[in-house]
Symmetry: C2
Subunit: 346 residues, 2 copies
C-alpha cells in the first residue's frame, strides 16, 4: 500500500494541507467540527504519521530510554517512576526496557540496536563491564545507575554511598542493644540477578565497619549468602540463621525484599520482630511501610537519584567526550516497628 500523504487527507476532508498538519501536530487553533472532519479522514485513510522521518529531520526525539534489570523489584519500579516524573518535568518521554540483568539484553540496548531515535539512555547494568561499555557501538548519551560499573565507568554515574548506608543500618541494630547481629545478602553467585555483586560487597563492607564501631566481633556463621535479592531468598536465609545453635538477635538485610522474606520466616517459626529478632533492610519500598511489623530501613533518596541522572543526561547533549562524573545521592535511617516495636523508638 502506498504511503498516505497529508495531501490525500486534506482532499478527503476538504481542508488545506496546513490544517491537516496542524491537527496531526497538535498546533494552531482548529474548530471542533474541522478537527472531527480531519480525524475522520485520517482514520478512513489509515494515515500513519511518518514519525521516523520527522525525527531524523529534527535530530531530537524528546524520548529517552531507561534500562533496568527487573520491574517486579519494587525498588526498580519506584526508581523508574521517579525517572518518568523527572523526565516529564523536562518535557521528555521515557520508554523503559527490562534487561533481566542479561549481557545480551544490556549490550543490545547500550549499542542502540533496540533503541532507535532515543536522545539518551539511563541504564542500571548488571552484566556489562566498563570495558564493554567503552566499546559500545553507539554515541547516544548514557548515564549509569548503581555500583556494578562504578568508579571505572567511562560515563557519568549515580549511586548512593552503599558502604555508609550499611554501616548506618548495622549501627542502628547495635544502638538498640543487639549483640548477635547477622547479615543477609552476601552474594553466592555472580549469575544474573537483580542486584550486582558489587552492591553486596559494599554493603558487607559497611556491615563489617558497623560491627567494629560497636565493638562487636565478626562471626562467619552470622553472614548468610543468597543467590538473588528476592523475598524467597531472605526467607530461606533467615531459616538457616534460626537453625544455628546460637541464633542472631538482629539481622541486617541488604535490601527490603530480603528483609520482608526474613519477617515471613520469623512468623513461620512463631517468632516476632523485634522481640526475638530485630530486622532492618535498605530501599524504603512502600511495601515496608505497610508490612506487619512495619519495616525499618535505610532510605536512598530515589527522587535525587532520578533528578541527577536526567540532569546529567541532558548535560551530555552535543558533548563528544563525556566527563565521568560520579554523583552520590543521599540516604537516611527510617526506624519502624521491626526494630523499635509497635511503641515507636525507645
Amino acid at each position: 500500500m502506498a504511503r498516505i500523504r497529508l495531501q490525500d487527507v486534506a482532499e478527503r476532508a476538504g481542508v488545506s494541507i496546513k490544517t491537516v498538519s496542524n491537527v496531526v501536530n497538535g498546533k494552531g487553533t482548529i474548530t471542533p467540527a474541522t478537527r472531527e472532519r480531519v480525524q475522520q479522514a485520517l482514520a478512513d485513510l489509515q494515515y500513519r504519521p511518518n514519525v521516523a522521518a520527522r525525527h531524523l529531520r529534527r535530530g531530537a526525539s524528546g524520548m529517552i530510554a531507561v534500562a533496568l534489570p527487573e520491574l517486579t523489584q519494587p525498588y526498580f519500579a519506584e526508581v523508574a517512576s521517579e525517572l518518568v516524573r523527572a523526565a516529564k518535568a523536562r518535557h521528555l518521554t521515557v520508554l523503559l526496557a527490562q534487561t533481566d540483568g542479561l549481557a545480551e539484553s544490556e549490550r543490545a540496548i547500550s549499542d542502540g540496536l533496540d533503541m532507535p531515535l532515543m536522545d539518551g539512555l539511563v541504564m542500571s547494568p548488571l552484566a556489562l563491564t566498563a570495558e564493554d561499555l567503552r566499546h559500545r557501538l553507539d554515541s547516544t548519551p548514557i548515564v549509569l545507575l548503581g555500583e556494578h560499573v562504578g568508579i571505572d565507568s567511562p560515563f557519568p554515574h549515580v549511586a548512593i554511598d552503599n558502604r555508609r548506608a550499611a554501616r548506618t543500618a548495622t549501627a542502628h541494630l547495635a544502638q538498640i542493644g543487639r549483640r548477635r547481629i547477622a547479615a543477609i545478602g552476601a552474594k553466592r553467585t555472580d549469575g544474573p540477578n537483580a542486584t550486582p555483586a558489587e552492591t553486596a560487597e559494599l554493603r558487607l563492607d559497611g556491615y563489617r565497619a558497623g560491627l567494629a564501631d560497636a565493638g562487636l566481633p565478626w562471626r562467619d556463621e552470622l553472614v548468610a549468602a543468597v543467590a538473588d535479592f528476592h523475598r524467597a531468598d531472605g526467607a530461606s536465609a533467615m531459616h538457616r540463621l534460626l537453625d544455628l545453635a546460637e541464633p542472631p538477635d538482629a539481622v541486617f538485610c541488604f535490601n527490603d525484599l530480603l528483609a520482608l522474606g526474613a519477617l515471613r520466616a520469623l512468623r513461620d517459626r512463631g517468632l516476632t520482630a523485634p522481640d526475638d529478632v530485630a530486622v532492618i533492610g535498605i530501599d524504603d519500598i512502600e511495601e515496608g511501610r505497610f508490612s506487619t511489623p512495619s519495616l525499618s530501613t535505610v532510605a536512598p533518596d530515589k527522587r535525587a537519584i532520578a533528578e541527577t541522572a536526567i540532569d546529567l543526561l541532558m548535560s551530555l547533549r552535543g558533548t563528544a567526550e563525556p566527563s565521568p562524573v560520579h554523583a552520590v545521592a543521599g540516604h537516611r535511617l527510617v526506624a519502624r516497628e521491626s526494630t523499635t516495636g509497635p511503641g515507636g523508638p525507645p
Copy 2:
C-alpha cells in the same frame, strides 16, 4: 558533524566495509583481534548505526510498546514482566510507557506520536474512551487490556471475568462462616487512578451476587469507597469500617494492595486476620505470599493475559480491519492465612 559512514570506520580499522558491517550487525565470523580493531575505530569515530533508516527500509522493527498506568502497582509490574517474557519468546523487544492514567499521555501513545517505529501497542487505558480510540491518528496494531474500554472496544481486548472473580472471593468468605462481609473498593471518583471505575463496578456487582448466593443481606454501611486502589486507601477504609457500631467480620478488597492496607489497619487496632476480620483481595501479587498473615486472593492468570495479548497483536499484522475479539483469561481462588488462619484451610 557529518554522519560517520561504515567506509570511514573501515579505513580507520584497515578492514573491508563488509567486515565492519558484520561487526555492527553481529553477523559472520570475526577474529577477536579484528573485532577489537573495528570496535576501537567505531568508538574513536563515534559511529552511530542509522537504525531509523534501517527500520524504515525493513518495515518492521521487532519492537512493541506496552502502555500501563502505573509500574509501582505490583499487578501492572507483574503483567509487564509477563508481557516482556511472552514477547521475547516471539523475538520481540518490549518498550514500556507509564501513562499515569492521564488522557494526554494515553492519547500521545495511542496516536503513535511518542512511539515511532513500533510494530504494535498493548495498552491498558483508563482515560480514553472507545470513541477516542476509534479516531486515533495511527494504524499501528493495538490490543487493549482490562475493562475500561470493554465490549465497546473497536480493538481486540483481554480481561478476566471480574464479576465472577469477585463472586468467588465473596463466596469464600461466606463459606468460612462469615456473616458481616464488607467490601473495600467501590469508586469515590472517576479521577485518574490505577484502576478504572469499570473494574470497580464489575467487582461490586460480583460482591452483590456473592452475598445473594449465601443468603446474606446487602448493607450500604459495609461498602467502603476509595479514591485509589493503593495500600493507604485500603488502610483508611478498614479504619472506617472498624469504627462502625457493628464492624464487619470479613472484608473483600477489590485488589491486593487495598487488602494489604486493610491488614495493616487491623494490626494498628491490635486486631488480627482472620480471627477478628478475615481478609481477601484480587491479583495474587508476590507481596501477598510473604505478608503476615499471608493474603488470600483471587489470582488472575497473568501469563495467559500476556500470551493472549501478544498473540492477538501478532495476528493483526497487515490486517486493515481488526475484529474486536474479547478474550477472557482465567482466574482461581488462592486461600491463605488471612482467611483460613496459620493452620491452613479448615
